[in-house]
Symmetry: C2
Subunit: 356 residues, 2 copies
Amino acid sequence: MDGDHLHAGTRARHDRVDAVLDDFFALAKRRAESVGWRYVDLWSVLERNSAGGKRFRPRMVFTVYDALGGADDEAVARVGAAFELLHTALIVHDDVIDRDFSRRGIPNVSGSYRDTATTAGIPTPAAEHRGMSAAVIAGDLALTGASRMLLGIGCADHVRTRLLDLLDEAIFVSAGGEMVDVEFSLSADLPTVDEILEMERAKTAVYSFEAPLQAGAVLAGAGEAVVTAVGDFGREVGVAYQVVDDLLGVFGTEEATGKTTRGDLREGKRTVLVAHAATTDEWFTIQPFIGKADLSEAEAEHVRGRLEVCGARAFAEGLVEQHARRALDVLDRPEVPESLREALTPVVQDVLERVR
Amino acid sequence: MDGDHLHAGTRARHDRVDAVLDDFFALAKRRAESVGWRYVDLWSVLERNSAGGKRFRPRMVFTVYDALGGADDEAVARVGAAFELLHTALIVHDDVIDRDFSRRGIPNVSGSYRDTATTAGIPTPAAEHRGMSAAVIAGDLALTGASRMLLGIGCADHVRTRLLDLLDEAIFVSAGGEMVDVEFSLSADLPTVDEILEMERAKTAVYSFEAPLQAGAVLAGAGEAVVTAVGDFGREVGVAYQVVDDLLGVFGTEEATGKTTRGDLREGKRTVLVAHAATTDEWFTIQPFIGKADLSEAEAEHVRGRLEVCGARAFAEGLVEQHARRALDVLDRPEVPESLREALTPVVQDVLERVR
């Protein structure tokens, strides 16, 4: 399969996911009319929040599906759309929990509803609360939409049941990761590196890698050994991805990440870098700046320097390499067909390239 | 069927719903261990919040199911449990939206998490935010749990699909009602009586009456005419119930309702009473007290008097009678079997008795 062909195929798959989501939102907006225009508006805002993403999770689904010879364009698009809706649900509620009113510089659901209220003269606390209320409801709708999307797939019953189980497990584990993250951020005690890795895996890696990769395999009719292998692969590459995220949140460039490289430090985000640094003698020179809301760029540079000196950066980079290596090792298992190995190797490379 | 027999049957059905929910939470807590004890705690708090309710929605399910001769104890308990979980999900998120930290005098999910944080010395805003974050996540889990509960029912595929459709419609409409309620409470313009009735129907009546009643009929294998009839019945009795709620919120006694009879007035809740009063000349004597946060009992008494004088109370009572009458008329349709008419008539009587 040459690069251009793959590219065209990927684009067609993306377009199909978008078409499925367009239909989903068009139907929802029509149904919402019976409740009133205010509800149609909520669906429009949710639709805008679900549009324009990289469709990362759908890509995980169809990378595996296509490599295993799957050929039902409609079914795979629906599975991809289901994971995209799940992603929307989780980020909409995560933004409520983080009190964020924008994402990548654009107002999110809370932000849209806050801003129109502010424009209408409603005081800020009430406007913000309106935003968060709308986002709680919108997240519920996206979450419900994800399972509905899977229910509507034309495939064998046992396959549909299996897909629903994967989605359910992804929701279950992500919710747990989110809860643990909430608790970590409130606790004065720093979690250990292992606790951070477990939390990040639960909160993001399962629903972004393991579950969609396995869903692609299940839909393609793969045997249990292959489904297990892509799950193990997803776990390793997912953890690598999260650690890369921690690295980029401090050492990345704003052009590459689209967000300030002081945000994680200012928030006092519990990352692998911080957890490792806390075990070293440098911690006393770093700790005062973790969670400092008005951290200056000079102070951030100081922290970056200390995180290098104490070995936290190298440690995190080592973790990335180690989990990437393990992901590639999974692909060498005899049950993984050559086509799948070829299709998934670039997923690991993409993750590694983000930090290089 | 004599009263005692019915009572014993109802108790057995309730116990079975409780047993299904016990199993559901026991399994969830076991699964949660893989994420960590903090997640097990969240499930325990959610379980406590789902316990001890009146099991009103399950009762709607099995009232219809039993009257139509249904005999699968396990299946009907699961359908009842699904609607109970949906109820839990909606009130947990509704409490987030209303910034309530207790329900019926007992800490809710937000309240439990806020209180343990406060005890641990965390300042109030952070403690409250922890409470709301936990509640956003917990509501997601209950919502997901409701559909999982239906998915696991041992019944014909087309019946399960129909049940899932009813649940989906209930979630869809309730979310819309909640959104419209959020918007009404922020708007300086008062909604009309019809707008209030539509909002209340969407927010509460559909998931509390129409959907569980229809689910009982579907599970019992009833024909479309009967399913439609119990839906129409549920719509009328549900609206009557909501208007009774509006009446009790102002004219009820604290013993009967378990909540202060000044709460609705202090919150400035948009009710049928207020919407009707706004169309009369008395409005100028009432309006200053609607939404007055420190409303005294003397002021509340003044408002109650004015709501009587302007005819708002009689109007609301008339609405209750009218919808109750319509509900009973539905039961006179030829397609409604005698056993169903006998089982559902007391539902209407119970609603009427709440205001007598």
